[in-house]
């Protein structure tokens, strides 16, 4: 089982990237589980035709412990197992604590054993702001962390912070930094800036995604690029990225 956490600044395109990666890997016959770790609970929305999923924390709130692993999941495009951790209402509660509670509940309910996925993606909200957001990096969860960034200053700053967190935890057996994913925003010297960051944090850019309206069009249809425009250039980019990510994790994709 390859377990991957994807971090990055809010709005940088993590969920879009992760969902397309999930779809690309599912196309290659892998069993994929995607876990959205964001109170907005919209990580997997393009994988199951925009239907709203019951979040793990909603279930905990409503049913205590009286629910099964299947209540927490929805099977989406090409059998992708979709999970949304959920969280408190905006402005209330503790989102970090919510992620901890949701991930613990998934483990407790035997989600990994039940679905036995080949690949698990944790799509994690924004920057590493508290202990809760490091949960997906911890021992027993993700093995590799990938950071989505553009050449924009704030995105680079967030990526640097996340890399710092991974570095801080290096002695703990947590996830290792797998690399950067460049999600282009047509910023001046974008490739160069992201390369500089990669060098600074001793990692590599595992893939680059062009700025493309195809992505927006697919999202407007509530689906991934892979499902809506499978022959498009962007679909090809996501497929290549999926191969690179798997390679960086030490795995190869079946032909």
């Amino acid at each position: 089982m390859v377990k991957i956490a994807v971090y990055g600044k809010g709005g940088i395109g993590k969920s879009t990237t992760v969902s397309n990666l999930s779809a690309a890997l599912a196309e290659r016959g892998l069993r994929v589980m995607q876990i959205g770790c964001d109170p907005k609970a919209d990580s997997t929305v393009t994988l199951h035709s925009g239907r709203k999923l019951r979040t793990v924390l909603d279930l905990v709130r409503e049913k205590g412990n009286g629910f099964s692993v299947h209540d927490m999941t929805a099977i989406g495009y090409r059998g992708i197992v979709c999970v949304e951790a959920g969280g408190p209402s905006p402005g209330t509660g503790c989102a970090g604590r919510g992620i901890i509670a949701a991930l613990e509940k998934l483990k407790e309910k035997g989600a990994y054993e039940t679905y036995n996925p080949d690949v698990v993606f944790y799509d994690v909200l924004g920057d590493v702001v508290c202990g809760g957001f490091t949960m997906p990096m911890r021992n027993g969860y993700a093995d590799q962390v990938f950071i989505v960034t553009s050449g924009e200053s704030m995105a680079l700053h967030a990526a640097s912070n996340i890399a710092q967190a991974v570095w801080n935890f290096r002695g703990r057996g947590y996830a290792k930094l797998g690399g950067l994913i460049l999600n282009c925003r047509k910023v001046e010297r974008e490739d160069e800036k992201v390369k500089e960051l990669a060098d600074d944090i001793h990692t590599a850019i595992v893939g680059s995604l062009d700025f493309s309206k195809t992505v927006q069009k697919a999202e407007a249809l509530g689906k991934t690029v892979l499902e809506t425009f499978p022959e498009s250039q962007m679909a090809g980019e996501y497929r290549r990225l999926a191969e690179n990510v798997m390679r960086a994790c030490g795995g190869e994709l079946p032909c």
Binding site: G64, N65, C94, G96, R97, I100, C130, G131, G132, T134, M135, R138, N139, R172
Partner: protein, 444 residues
């Protein structure tokens, strides 16, 4: 100045006749204000931790939360076995709580007159909230002190009503330091109890007279003796709060777990004993004499107690409905049962009482109305348990918690004797019930 206000404001206790009560929760419990009666005989997480012989206990939590645990240790004359680490706001802000735990525990160990073989570390809700990675802490401590076993324990009141209760969790964690050993096929454990099970009970006699050695943490005087509990291929639990410990050990050490629940119904008792005989590969025994003795003891007690109202609470026994049924079947005037909730195991007893004794009152314990309910009744009352004694204001009570180590037909005989004695001889209720952890000196 605080003024005691009980009995004067006309508020009735939160009670319902058993005929109208719902099972397993007779009262609508809403999160919020609760009443904690001054009856303190039940064991808390400090008492249970102290059962681990020679262990040192370290609580890591904000200063204000330490009051109760420090008092408990002091009351036990065991302050030397408990240390504390004060979590402050800056630990949360700086994110150094894990390092602070490692440094703090190391400092305490260095200052102890003797290095303990085991240290139980109690993390608090602060750790829970901020997502502290306790595995990192225990890993670091294990590396630093390879000759000390570290046990993870929890003082996390925010999770009191979620998942395992603190009592269940503590009893499970108490056995977590047991490591796999070669089984001694002639050894049996009783786990999860705070009372020593009576040697005269049919259960203990069955074990011993069948040639098996009995191990129980309440009998252990050294850490080495505790570790030998891993040699028993069989763990017996008899209390619902101990069940999780048995399940965990079965999974971790492959020790067979058999749950033989404390009950006051003859059939249940006989079934449990026969089940144990089967597991021990010995012939079933005939218990007719034991039953006759229990019957005789109950009749004797009834003669003495007569129609005096009897009140039972859930701290005296985890099966108050089963006990009420036994007593009603033998003519006792059971008037009240104090419990907020019943164990699912008691459903048959509940239905029996509903049909045969519908007037018995079920009274809440933590409902805030109990704070101001009159803690006195008209005439003499015999109480079984400290909370029942407190709420009825009686000095005639059986001072016991968690079944008092009484089990089986022998347990019924003993309890009947204690009830008769309590009816005849008053106790100093106020003095007795305010001491925490009845019988906890067995830890020392």
């Amino acid at each position: 100045m605080l003024k005691q206000i009980h009995g004067e404001c006309g508020i009735q206790p939160a009670c319902v006749a058993v005929r109208d009560a719902k099972f397993p929760k007779p009262f609508l419990q809403q999160p919020g204000l609760e009443f904690s009666s001054p009856a303190r005989g039940v064991w808390n997480i400090v008492h249970i931790g102290m059962l681990l012989p020679q262990a040192h206990l370290i609580f890591v939590c904000p200063e204000g939360c330490l009051r109760g645990v420090v008092q408990t240790a002091d009351e036990m004359n065991a302050s030397g076995r408990l240390s504390t680490i004060d979590v402050r706001e800056n630990n949360v802000l700086e994110g150094n709580i894990e390092k602070m735990m490692v440094d703090g525990v190391s400092d305490i160990i260095g200052k102890l007159p003797q290095k303990p073989p085991a240290v139980l570390i109690y993390a608090s809700c602060t750790h829970h909230f901020i997502g502290c990675d306790l595995t990192v802490v225990y890993k670091a401590l294990g590396k630093k002190f390879p000759d000390i076993a570290f046990g993870d324990c929890y003082m996390n009141p925010i999770m009191r009503k979620t998942g395992l209760t603190p009592e269940q969790l503590m009893r499970r964690q108490l056995y977590k330091l047991l490591q796999p050993r070669e089984f001694d096929t002639k050894s049996v454990n009783i786990i999860g109890n705070c009372n020593r099970t009576d040697e005269s009970s049919e259960l203990v006699r069955l074990i011993r007279e069948s040639g098996y050695g009995l191990k129980d943490i309440v009998l252990c005087k050294t850490y080495g003796e505790y570790l030998k509990m891993a040699e028993s291929p069989l763990n017996i639990t008899m209390l619902p709060i101990a069940h999780a410990a048995g399940v965990a050990l079965q999974r971790r050490l492959s020790q067979k777990h058999v749950y033989l629940p404390l009950s006051y119904l003859y059939k249940d008792i006989e079934d449990n004993l026969n089940r144990l005989s089967d597991i021990l590969h010995v012939p079933e025994r005939n218990y007719s004499k034991n039953i006759a003795h229990a019957e005789s003891s109950l009749h004797k007690a009834k003669k003495i107690i007569g129609n005096c109202p009897v009140a039972i609470d859930y701290t005296a026994t985890p099966r108050p409905l089963s006990l009420a049924r036994l007593l009603c079947e033998h003519g006792f005037a059971v008037a009240r049962i104090y419990a907020d909730e019943f164990s699912g195991e008691e459903k048959d007893d509940f239905l029996w009482l509903k049909e045969h004794c519908p007037e018995i009152e079920v009274c809440a314990v933590t409902d805030p109305r109990m704070r101001v309910a009159p803690n006195c009744t008209d005439g003499k009352v015999l109480a079984v348990g400290q909370k029942a004694a407190y709420f009825t204001g009686t000095d005639n009570f059986v001072n016991m918690v968690e079944g008092g180590g009484m089990y089986g037909f022998d347990g019924i005989s003993r309890l009947a004797g204690l009830m008769a004695d309590a009816f005849l001889h008053e106790k100093d209720t106020r003095k007795l019930i305010q001491i925490k952890g009845l019988g906890c000196n067995c830890c020392l």
